[in-house]
Each structure stands twice: as C-alpha cells, then as structure tokens.
C-alpha cells in the first residue's frame, strides 16, 4: 500500500467504509455528512445532513447489498478528493441493478466528510 497516492488510499477506504455502513445500518451514515452537504438521489436533491440521512434511512428496502465493479479517485485543486464508483446492487429480492455514484470528500478538522454525493441507477440498455 506504500506506493498508492494518498488520495487513492483515502478514497478507497472511504468507499469501503461507506458501503459497509450502507449495507448493514445506514442510519449510521450521518457521521460522514455535514450541514453543507448535498445529495442528489435519482435526480432529486437533498440539502444538509438531516435531510440526507432521512432520505437514506427511508429508502424502501429491508436489505441491500452493493458490489463495487470499479472505483476511481482524483485529488482536486482545492485539496478535496473526487471519487467515482460503478457497481451493482441488489435490494431485497429485486433483480440486480447497475449504479453509479460520485462523492466529493473534504477534510474538516481531522474528520473526512462527504460534501457532495450524486447517485443514479444505470438504465437498462435495450
């Protein structure tokens, strides 16, 4: 792991932590958002930690499993980390769906939080 750039290390471990939390107990995701965070979920916008956690906690499935196909991480000019994740998910007994998600991570007083998050399901390609 010594040769991996710092932004890849941070991005990768964030992604691992995020999906582990999401799949086991997503009410705990609150710790990674702040009041200035934005979420766009399937085209709908939510602003601030409370609104975001409420949206995520109220998603209509009992169980969820994410599988990451690929992830890319880049440092931004303002010392944030931009991460793009492509994967598949399965909610309850529904069919497997593809998804993509983008995170922007910013360092605030020794805690890395997610400032922006955009999520979309991949449409079927006929």
């Amino acid at each position: 792991m010594g040769d991996k750039p710092i932004w890849e290390q941070i991005g990768s471990s964030f992604v691992q932590h995020y999906y582990q939390l999401f799949d086991t107990d997503r009410t705990q995701l609150g710790s990674i958002y702040i009041d200035a965070s934005c979420l766009t979920w399937e085209g709908q916008q939510f602003q601030g930690k409370a609104a975001i956690v409420e949206k995520l906690s109220s998603l209509p499935f009992t169980k969820i499993a994410h599988s990451i196909t690929a992830q890319d991480h880049q440092p931004t000019p303002d010392s944030c980390i931009l991460s793009m994740v492509v994967g598949q998910l399965k909610a309850d007994e529904d069919q497997v769906l593809g998804f993509q998600k983008t995170f922007l991570l910013k360092h605030y007083s020794n805690v890395r939080v997610r400032a922006n998050k955009v999520f979309r399901l991949a449409p079927h390609i006929l």
Binding site: T40, D72, Q100, A122, I125
Partner: protein, 128 residues
C-alpha cells in the same frame, strides 16, 4: 432559464459543449483543460492538458456519438461545479454501450475549465 440555479446552467452548458466537441472534433477539447487537469480514462490516469489531449485524440475510432441519458450538477464548498453524466455511446459500427463520466469544473480567469475528469464504460461482471 431564470429559475435554474447557476451551477446547473454552467454544468448543463458544459456538458452540451463537451459532447458536441467530442463527437465532431475532439482536438478542440484542449480549451477545456489546464496544465493541472487530471483525467482518469477507464482506470488509467493522465495529468495535464497535453497528456489528456494525447489520450483523447488517439482513441481508436473514426466516428463517435454520445447520447446523454441523465446529468446531475452540484455546487461544491469551494465554488466549483461537480457534474455527473450517464449516457450511451456508439463508436464506428460497434454496439451501443453505456458510460458514466464525472467532471469537476472551476472558474479560472473568468473561464470555466475542467480540472478533473473521470470516464468509465458501464461494464459489469454479470453472474458469479
């Protein structure tokens, strides 16, 4: 358009311009990048305008067409615009494929440029 937030106007305008350029004459995309821009193309990183343009102009197809299915735009804490695009593309006579792309746009000297760009085809390991 008056009710559309500024970041959506900027993001939407950029996306339209980017794919139009890409599909007609991608050499002209050089204007959108700087010497510190980063591109990750299918998992491979390229740093700076020259390296990025080297990659984009050497992609192995004659004709390319992008079709945007969805796009989302966010303002960032540092006054940038973060844009996520999902769509489909067709290169030459190949089959249509899904793709996703993320851009981070920054206003430098009164011009919106792309500082970060990540592209992936929507390919998964089905089954297993």
């Amino acid at each position: 358009m008056a009710d559309t937030p500024m970041w959506e106007q900027i993001g939407t305008g950029f996306v339209q311009h980017y794919y139009q350029q890409f599909d007609t004459d991608r050499v002209k995309l050089a204007d959108l990048y700087t010497d510190t821009s980063c591109l990750t193309w299918e998992g491979v990183g390229f740093q700076g305008k020259n390296a990025i343009m080297g990659k984009l102009t050497s992609l192995p197809f004659q004709t390319i067409q992008h079709s945007i299915t969805a796009q989302d735009h966010h303002p960032t804490p540092d006054s940038c615009v973060m844009t996520m695009v999902m769509g489909q593309l067709k290169a030459d006579q190949d089959q249509v494929m899904g793709f996703q792309q993320v851009f981070l746009l920054k206003n430098i000297d009164n011009k919106w440029v792309c500082t970060n760009d990540m592209f992936r085809l929507s390919l998964h390991n089905f089954g297993a």
